[in-house]
């Protein structure tokens, strides 16, 4: 999309450049494409996901050769990146928030082993409560990891610093991995006028060949990477790392200068705006510093000598430059989009103060303010307020309140707790229809007596209206049908996903029963703990002996990827709980990235269709069979729109969770938005998925498989293409030129279906 237009101020560097209009994420992807990294290991998380999406789309079009590896979680993504780096690959990753924290333990491994790579952190608030918008609370966790850290204030800087950071990381005296951090949404999703090199070769020539440190792919030179190293050796390894940071301190200005010669764009370790004679200043990281510059212009017009100090590099921390620029400044306000709770100022406050402490001639008064947590906007008047505080301190000669939060509100305790009252608590009678009866049958299986569905229509819903799901979403009808099959009191736990996000947007909840959230991968473990403490507190007499609660965990298919380990752990421990997965064939909450449950060939935002790529490259995960292999008492599948089947399975699930142990069920539900269908056709599409035998309805009870619906004997089986032609995401698979992929899907569906039928016919299988 970049078009060369004649602009009045074109870049003055030696290399040819083109102008474009791009976001920070687009610039990150463009720089990675131009580097043509060997590999990107990634996992979707807002707001960094687009970087991998854009790169995948470019790859489908043949624009680069980066091996794109969709990991099973960020921990896995970091492992993939580390492994690739040990092989001498140039490696890239992008993440945010919890994703960064989930891979945090890998970061010191990468730096301690001294393998360069590039990690873009699109900054976002760390849970909990879960907040998807941008602050720096994730970035701050990386300050002690031994990585180089660059901060990019706008989309242009994202591009420039990605190239610069990689060059510094691969400097022979440095050999460290590098982070480039830019503001989630403010920078990642805002389009600006930007410049980039006209030809990928310019970038690759400037970077030079990849640095080949100790590498794992030379059998003639065997090496042991990552030995077991205690004292007294480890401290020397860490001192080497410290010296590498010092070396980076020397290398960075050289690389900045070389980059300026190439691009015409100037960077310093610390960005200074109108600081030459400044008496008051603010210290801000990334996009907020840009807003403050506009305010400085206005203050200067009124005769106030104000300026902005903003780091381009956090590691190595540019202490000397900060010391030099602040000596004449009378008062400085350090604003931070993160906190170090209990430390009387967030981390950079203490680093700036510590730099000044080393200068005996310095008398700058420092104020520290935490602002903008959770992505709260930073407006011009906020920067103005910061300058006012600094001016007051300069005039009075003291910082009256050295540390505080900025932008918090007290609220009104006199009206709060009753102003958003919802539904009254359900009584046990209301949620017990008395119409459902479950009892062990003669053949060891449970027998269920359930009324026709309409008789349950007046049973109170445990999920209430007012949730924010997309029109036509299949999640809530399926959940409602399942929960109608359960009698008595229920406590639910939702892992992160669409159902969680749209049903609990503060200060509203659509849950009429008690609801707990924990992070994407950890629901099964969390609910295990809750189940066990329930039984223990009943045993100790702390809860009534007749208290009877059914525990249901709700997850998407994505949660069963990243959370597979904890789900298997809970199943093996046999906690009395139900794990209910709604499968919409992708990570729909973050914008339709592939999950392992996405079938072969399907279009998602990380499995594009183009000359070099035909949708997802591997088959869908058979999660019910994986869970059945844990030998839990009951496994089932279901679909939205077939309530008699789902209600009966819910009744069985409740019985098994109460009397025997863990239950797992997978329910296929429609996602009109990302399946690219009309809002109204979801039931028809999932029915076709069942009738094509892609999604068989069955149960595994004490290891014995039984089909609960078989389309073949009743003449309802349809060709796979009859299902795929209903969705925009799969219509390409019905075209003749993609016949091989369609045949591969059909073969896999048949293979699984025939094995399932064999199990249905033989209880020993």
């Amino acid at each position: 999309m970049a078009v060369a237009v004649d602009l009045s101020r074109s870049p003055s560097g030696s290399a040819t450049q083109v102008v474009g209009f791009r976001t920070g994420n687009e610039m990150a992807a463009l720089s990675a494409k131009q580097v043509n990294f060997h590999l990107m290991g990634y996992y979707p998380i807002t707001p960094s996901t687009e970087v991998a999406e854009i790169l995948d789309e470019m790859k489908a079009a043949g624009a680069h050769q980066i091996v794109m590896v969709p990991a099973d979680g960020e921990h896995g993504a970091a492992g993939i990146c580390f492994g690739a780096a040990t092989g001498g690959g140039r490696v890239f990753n992008a993440t945010s928030s919890q994703g960064l924290l989930y891979q945090l333990e890998e970061l010191p491994v990468q730096s301690g082993s001294r393998y360069p790579m590039l990690l873009d952190i699109v900054t976002r608030t760390v849970s909990g409560p879960l907040d998807i918008r941008g602050d720096h609370s994730d970035l701050y966790y990386t300050l002690n990891t031994g990585w180089l850290i660059f901060t990019a204030r706008d989309p242009q800087a994202v591009y420039d610093l990605n190239l610069i950071a990689l060059r510094v990381a691969e400097h022979p005296e440095v050999r460290l991995p590098a982070i480039v951090a830019f503001d989630g949404f403010f920078t990642s999703h805002q389009k600006r006028r930007v410049y980039s090199f006209a030809d990928d070769a310019i970038v690759q020539h400037w970077l030079g060949p990849v640095l080949e440190p100790v590498k794992a792919l030379d059998p003639r030179r065997p090496v042991t990477i990552g030995p077991y190293m205690n004292d007294p050796d480890l401290i020397n390894n860490k001192y080497q790392l410290e010296r590498a940071m010092d070396a980076a301190g020397s290398a960075i200005p050289e690389v900045f200068a070389e980059y300026e010669a190439l691009s015409g764009r100037h960077y310093d370790p610390v960005d200074l705006y109108r600081m030459d004679d400044a008496e008051v200043a603010v210290f801000l990281v990334n996009s907020a510093a840009q807003t403050a510059k506009d305010v400085v212009d206005r203050l200067r017009a009124r005769g106030v000598r104000a300026g902005v100090v903003s780091p381009n590099v956090l590691r190595p921390f540019p202490a000397q430059a900060i010391k030099d620029v602040l000596r004449p400044v009378r008062a400085l306000l350090i604003g931070e989009r993160s906190s170090s709770y209990g430390a009387h100022g967030a981390n950079l406050t203490h680093e700036v103060k510590s730099a000044l402490q080393d200068d005996p001639a310095n008398a700058t008064i420092c104020l520290s303010r935490v602002y903008g947590l959770g992505g709260r906007d930073f407006y011009a008047e906020d920067a103005e307020a910061f300058f006012s505080l600094a001016r007051e301190a300069a005039e009075s000669g003291t910082a009256e309140v050295p540390f505080d939060y900025y932008g918090v509100e007290p609220g009104d305790p006199t009206v709060a707790l009753t102003r958003r009252r919802g539904t009254p608590p359900l009584t046990r009678q209301e949620v017990t229809s008395g119409l459902l009866h479950v009892a062990p049958g003669a053949d060891g299986r449970l027998e269920v007596e359930a009324p026709p569905y309409w008789e349950l229509a007046t049973k109170p819903k445990r999920v209430v209206p007012g949730h924010g799901a997309c029109p036509g979403c299949g999640i809530f009808p399926a959940l409602d049908q399942f929960l109608r099959g359960i009698e008595g009191d229920v406590v639910v736990l939702y892992q992160t996903g669409c159902a969680m996000v749209v049903s609990t947007g503060y200060p509203y909840t659509s849950h009429r029963v008690t609801y707990v959230h924990n992070l994407f991968q950890n629901g099964a473990a969390t609910l295990s703990g809750l189940v066990e403490v329930f039984h223990e507190r009943v045993r100790r007499g702390e809860l009534p002996a007749d208290e009877d609660i059914t525990f249901v965990m709700v997850t998407g298919d994505g949660g069963m990827d990243i959370g597979m380990g904890p789900a298997i752990g809970a199943a093996l421990r046999r906690h009395g709980m139900i794990i209910l997965e709604y499968d919409n064939e992708g990570y729909m909450n973050t914008g339709s990235q592939l999950s392992y449950s996405t079938p072969l060939g399907h279009l998602t935002s990380t499995s594009h269709v183009g000359p070099m790529e035909l949708g997802k490259s591997f088959h869908h995960k058979d999660t019910p069979q994986i869970m059945a292999a844990t030998n839990i008492p009951y496994v089932f599948t279901g679909v939205e729109g077939y309530p008699d089947d789902l209600v009966a399975k819910a009744a069985k699930a409740q019985w098994y969770a109460q009397y025997e142990g863990t239950v797992y069920g997978k329910v296929l539900i429609s996602c009109p938005l990302n399946w690219k269908t009309e809002d109204r056709v979801g039931v028809e599409v999932v029915q076709a998925a069942v009738d094509s035998c892609f999604f068989p309805l069955y149960e595994v009870e004490h290891g014995i498989t039984r089909l609960t619906y078989d389309p073949e004997p009743i003449g309802r089986r349809v060709p796979v293409a009859d299902w795929l032609k209903l969705m925009g995401k799969t219509r390409h698979l019905c075209q003749p030129e993609n016949g091989l992929t369609l045949a591969a899907i059909e073969a896999e569906i048949d293979r699984r279906w025939l094995r399932l039928k064999a199990k249905h016919e033989n209880p020993l299988l």
């Binding site: 409560p129 805002q190 807003t291 924010g468 996000v501 049903s503 200060p507």
Partner: protein, 356 residues
Amino acid sequence: MEPVGAGTTVVRTSQPSGGGVGSLPGVGEDGFFGIRFESIGGLGAHLAGKILAESVVLRQGLNGAHFSSYGSEKKGTPVKSFVRICAPEREVRTSSPVETPQLVAVFHEALAHSVDVAAGLSATGTLIVSTRKSPEAIREALHLRSGTVATLDALGIALQEKTRVNTAMLGAVARLCPIIDPEALKETLRASFAGRYAHLIDANLVTFDRGYREVQSTTRPAVPGDAARPVQRATPAFGYLDAPIGGAILDAGNSILRDLSTSRQGFIPALDLGACVHCGICDIVCPDLCFAWSDDGDGQPAVRLLGIDYRYCKGCLKCVDACPTGALTELREEEGWAEEHRVPLFPWLESRKGSE
């Protein structure tokens, strides 16, 4: 209704000066021509803003920025898209929302009932609304004394041309915003549909032209004393003194207080109880749980459908497709119809004030 979180409050803002760099005609005090699109997810306001800004920057050689409001809420929920336009030599530094726009385009008329779509609009600014009403009717409904008010039936155009509302709105914006070169914008449109969506180019250019031609407007001069509309900003639901500790929500099921009517994109299911056999299939497929039932059938236990609570209906029409008797049919929604035909699920809510 604001996206998750709370009500709105009026705040005072100050704007940075233009900084002395080159200026464009009609810009605000901050040196930018600010545009805000008010829409719901799924109508393409984000894409329209992107195409507009890209055209201005890459084809007209001006400078600018584009972004949208982001949350985790989905299709059908309110969204805003922002464009800033400035002189080519001016650097765009701010990344905050456009609060005092020179032009507002409302892609979805129903939004005007729940949010002040014209918040922050300059006294000489332009408001464009997708509606079948006249500009003067909108001017009166929104209490706009001065400036330009424009209307067009963007949904009707989109339905006829089998395109989307956003392209018709872009045509209207191009007509009413003197900075924008309509020919450059059409070229950008053409380029953004090229390739996989090339078959949609002609219909979209027709849609654009119809939006450009069919928009009607009236302008009234600002008289002394007319100021910009007050700015609105989201406020927290609670403060640090009254928020339940740990972020828990202590009011079960309180999403029933929300009103999701604005999520409907022009269509609504109508129920003919005479043709209904109370089979419950609509209730099974409804994603928004908005069917109201009774189980007291003249002294005998019987489950009967009473109606639909349109407050929560997002207009997906799954129930229309599922109904075996044709009791549910699809209607193009007219203003006031839903309110008139609605059967409240929670009648006790109606008498309570402060629903949100």
